[in-house]
């Protein structure tokens, strides 16, 4: 099962990272035309806009991986210090209130939050990344707070406090190092969630602009051509499923072996 998971993640990931380097090696078509069937010039045919489907498959994964990584980085850059600060504060009521305020964001499912923003014109890469990061915050802050307040940690913290270590070293640096394992496991599970969220937003036309080559955007642009150019939809769809499903399966296997809870 682990080998299958590695294969499922590996193929789309390699395509996403190395694809843009390989794409220029494909023979350029002097007269590109839409909806061509697979042939010697276009191995997978062309899409509704006359673009080579193989080239789209090679170049459309970079945004998927980069956006997911970017949203995750934003989430943890904001969520980890916030979670550590809430765990360290002596104002328990303030910490609980802050967590409740963050949890309010969960009233609206993530994708619908992105839709509400897009419906009032707030769209584009910046809004997409910010919104995808914000909707993950409540869970990440809760995880970091919980991990930082683990009973096993208390003796070490008290020792550091008694030896006069500064507040930031105890509560941010050392506790941050302590929670890094839990954060890493969480990041693996969350990667598939964020990837699916961003891909769904791009498919619904509320994410990336249409001139960006992205697997989900390509699918959205070709939905009317399913019976004429199936490869233009099925190839990027298969790659997205492989990447998301493989990531989740891999994290699940690793967590199962290490005994971590996901």
């Amino acid at each position: 099962m682990t080998a299958l998971a590695l294969l499922l993640v590996g193929v789309p990931l390699v395509l996403a990272l190395a694809g843009p380097l390989l794409a220029p090696l494909l023979a350029p078509d002097a007269e590109p035309s839409p909806l061509r069937p697979p042939g010697p010039v276009h191995l997978l045919g062309t899409d509704a806009l006359g673009r080579d489907v193989l080239q789209l498959a090679l170049t459309g994964g970079t945004t998927v991986v980069l956006l997911t990584a970017g949203a995750l980085a934003l989430t943890y850059l904001a969520g980890v210090p916030l979670g550590l600060a809430l765990a360290a504060t002596s104002h328990r009521g303030l910490a609980a209130l802050s967590q409740r305020a963050l949890d309010m964001l969960l009233i609206l499912p993530s994708l619908l939050l992105l839709m509400v923003l897009a419906g009032t014109g707030r769209r584009g890469i910046g809004w997409l990344l910010a919104a995808a990061a914000v909707v993950q915050l409540p869970a990440v802050v809760r995880l970091v707070r919980g991990a930082a307040a683990a009973p096993a940690r208390r003796v070490a913290l008290e020792t550091m406090m008694l030896s006069g270590e500064p507040w930031w070293r105890i509560h941010l640096l050392e506790t941050g190092r302590f929670v890094s394992g839990a954060v890493l496991v969480d990041a693996g599970t969350r990667a598939a969630l964020v990837l699916t969220l961003l891909a769904s937003a791009n498919f619904l036309g509320i994410g990336l602009p249409p001139d960006v080559v992205d697997w989900a955007v390509v699918i959205e642009q070709n939905t009317a051509s399913l019976f004429l150019a199936p490869a233009a939809l099925l190839v990027p769809a298969g790659l997205l499923i492989s990447l998301a499903a493989g990531t989740n399966l891999l994290v699940d296997r690793v967590a199962d072996r290490t005994g971590a809870v996901t």
Partner: protein, 314 residues
Amino acid sequence: MHRPWRRGVRRIGVAGVALGVASVLVFALTALLPGETAEIVLGPEATDEQVQRLRAELGTDRPAVERFADWAAGLVRGDLGNSLVTGRPVLEELTHRLGATVLLGGTALLVTVPLAVGIGVLAGRRPGRPVDRVSTGVAAALQAAPEFALGLLLVGLFSLQLGWLPATAGGGSLLTPAVLVLPVAVLVVSQLGRLSRQVRLGVVQADRSPHVTHLRRLGLTERVVLTRHVLPGGIAPALQQLARVSDGMLSGVVVVEALFALPGVGAGFVRAVQLRDVPLVQGYALLFAATTIVVNLMVDLVSARLTPVREENP
């Protein structure tokens, strides 16, 4: 004696507060974020006159508190304003599309729950065996797959390759079973794993509990142990997961309706977003938030009802 009743009332109160917060959140997201909504909605080519007209229509030329008070008062009366595109009341637009979504989501839930319980019990009774490893692995993989991509692969197989099922509703009635099969299948496949894994975990824990071990020692038949003790103990913890599954289905419904051109609230929401019909976007967002809150409340109430029974019969 009165504690469960009091707990229920408290939960309903919390749900009421959550609904209030949801309305503030939706209003803040649509009306208070940086940028002038009328200018953003109309785009850079709009004339000053058009922008002023839309500002007056949306009320963005008035203070935010006053606008929210008006909007909330309308909400209480069931008046969510009118669609900017069709001019019809928002509430009418929502109710017009509700039936299709209830049919789609309801059918998907009706299929998902028994299937998840069956798979969860099957895997949970044989932990570590091939049936457990395969079902857990498949569940972990499929629950992460984007619904639209999953739907396209199913369409590719069952519509394009085999020609068994229609690829989209194409204006046809949802009451035609063939139209519903693929959309329901996508929702079921994408949410099944979440629930079946929780049921499996509950069954494994219940099956290994001292209580069940003792009953086996007493000589009760395996069927009685399973149906009267392992199953209730295993399924109760999965109820909370049912709320998550329902939340997931809400997002899934939006994507699935857009993919299969179904005339439900999900597709209506996508259309409202594309047309930047702000009052309609607010209406759909509130409807989805209210559904999330009500589903969570129902799950909480059922869990609360089950908990004392389990406490009394450990």
